[in-house]
């Protein structure tokens, strides 16, 4: 069991969590899946970086794996919505689209981008698929909480791509990005709470009333 195996295993785990998040209907397991994905991304980036400050992985795991999911679970409890009702793109279709996209990206990065990426084409594909999965979740689901989860997944993917290419970012800046993410989730959670209070649901179809008014 070498480092290479751990690396392949973690990347497969990240892909699995992406595809699993596309198929999840209930919101609690979805949040836990994103927590798992955050931890997997942290450990993968550890494998890439050269000189890592020893505190960084702990802080990242605590923020991505514990704090942010706890915030979301708390919001979920307040909002008391348990599952995604009828999504814009159905669950089975989402997973199949995800698999199709995964094939296309791997094929493209293996064939066309092999000069650019050398032996990192698989990690690049995983990062791209994660970003796309996050974007897809934000667009194809109705509940506002799933949109926040999609943003987290997209952020994980961007972070993975960053860690893939940049071997030495100073510690303070990684910490700052993480803090930003935490504050973002807090603010989104607060607004979600307000949405629930005002509309009695977190269905974003009720958030589609603003439009341009024309006069005759």
């Amino acid at each position: 069991m070498s480092l290479y195996d751990a690396y392949i295993g973690l990347l497969s785990l990240i892909l699995l969590t992406c595809l699993a998040s596309l198929s999840m209907q209930r919101l609690r397991p979805l949040i836990k899946t994103v927590a798992l994905q955050g931890i997997a991304v942290t450990m993968t980036t550890l494998l890439y970086q050269q000189n890592v400050h020893f505190l960084l992985p702990f802080i990242m795991i605590i923020v991505k794996g514990v704090l942010i999911p706890m915030l979301l679970l708390y919001t979920l409890k307040k909002v008391s919505i348990k599952s995604e009702g009828k999504p814009i793109v159905g669950f089975h279709a989402s997973v199949l689209l995800g698999i199709l996209f995964l094939f296309m990206v791997i094929h493209y990065s293996h064939d066309k981008l092999s000069k650019l990426l050398a032996d990192q084409s698989f990690s690049f594909s995983v990062a791209v698929v994660t970003i796309a999965c996050g974007l897809f979740l934000m667009m194809a689901r109705r509940k506002a909480l799933t949109q926040v989860v999609g943003y987290l997944i997209m952020d994980n993917g961007i972070y993975l791509m960053g860690a893939l290419f940049l071997k030495n970012i100073p510690f303070v800046l990684e910490f700052a990005i993480l803090l930003d993410l935490l504050v973002a989730v807090m603010v989104m959670g607060i607004i979600l709470h307000k949405i629930n209070e005002t509309f009695n649901s977190i269905d974003t179809t009720s958030l589609a009333t603003l439009k341009d008014r024309w006069h005759e």
Partner: protein, 322 residues
């Protein structure tokens, strides 16, 4: 010859392994459980009884159990066990296996419709639908194996050593394939979480409901063929997990046996390890049955989709290596 001998032993073990499942479940429930030879007694008892056959059935109803049993027994000739070459093996024999399994399924479905009982028909319809979803996963797994071995024979999958679980480059993909195949096993053999074999509520049965109208020797044949089907799938999975080099190492290091000096003893231990693997699979089935409830029927397509995703992921992981 060695294979035939071992296959007959495995077939004879099939009911014993079923009572292994029952006893493990009983441990979870805090009970003692069935006697070990319960299913043997049941089969023998059923064979001695007179069957009650509905007047409205045709010959299909009485031939279906025979065909099922015959097909299952025949398929063991193709299946490699514990690295022995099977009796029948040629390029493309997996399609023969799938075709024969389909044949058995067709006859049992037709028999279910034959009784004109709506419950059997309902169960048959469900069974067809879910096995259609399972076919996709099975074929994906076979595609993966074909990429690895360039051969379409069950024998090459197990024996030639091209599919080694503990090889460096194929560990994760084969792990995913193993999990995916295990999910397939549960689905095809109607175990939890697809279908609870102990349920007696007809509206929720999928597989058991097809054999609702059988009695006497016909019921014995159908039950035995179900046992053998589960054994077939488990032996296939055990082949995937069985690693020749690992066994050799185990024997050489742990027991200081050598395949050349004590061939009979070595073969005995190899077979023992294989049977242990199969039993482990059965115990895993039993543990899952004790810890999970069955899924709601509308969630079974998602279960199939998950198995498919795992298989596809394994294919992708393997693809980037190849």
């Amino acid at each position: 010859m060695k294979h035939l001998f071992f296959a007959l032993i495995m077939i004879a073990f099939a009911p014993l392994l079923m009572s292994l499942i029952a006893r493990v479940k009983a441990i979870f429930a805090g009970k003692v459980g069935l006697p070990w030879f319960f299913y043997y007694h049941t089969l023998l008892k059923l064979l001695q009884k007179t069957p009650v056959i509905s007047m409205h059935t045709t010959a299909i109803f009485t031939t279906a159990p025979l065909i099922n049993l015959a097909v299952m027994l025949f398929l063991f000739a193709f299946l490699p066990l514990a690295n022995y070459r099977p009796l029948l093996s040629f390029y493309g024999d997996i399609f023969v296996v799938i075709a024969f399994l389909a044949l058995a399924r067709i006859f049992s479905l037709l028999a279910a419709f034959d009784t004109a009982s709506s419950f059997s028909a309902m169960g048959a319809a469900r069974d067809v639908f879910y096995s259609m979803l399972a076919e996709i996963v099975l074929f994906t797994i076979f595609i993966i194996f074909f990429r690895l071995t360039n051969d379409l024979s069950l024998a090459t999958f197990a024996i030639e050593g091209k599919i080694e679980l503990f090889a460096r480059s194929t560990f994760f993909p084969l792990l995913l394939v193993a999990v995916s195949f295990f999910m397939l096993l549960l689905q095809e053999n109607a175990r939890v979480p697809i279908d609870d074999p102990n349920t007696h509520l007809e509206l929720t049965m999928i597989d058991e409901v097809k054999i609702l109208d059988y009695s006497g020797p016909y019921l014995a044949f159908m039950q035995l063929s179900l046992f053998l089907k589960l054994l077939f799938y488990s032996c296939f999975l055990a082949n995937l997990l069985f690693s020749q080099s690992l066994v050799t190492q185990l024997c050489t290091i742990a027991l200081s046996l050598d395949s050349n000096s004590y061939p009979l003893l070595y073969a005995f231990f190899k077979n023992l390890i294989f049977i242990a693997l199969v039993s482990a699979i059965y115990i895993a089935i039993a543990v899952i049955e004790s810890s999970m409830a069955r899924l709601a029927l509308k969630k079974i397509p998602k279960y199939s989709l998950s198995a498919l995703v795992l298989a596809v992921l394994a294919a992708i992981l393997m693809w980037r290596n190849v």
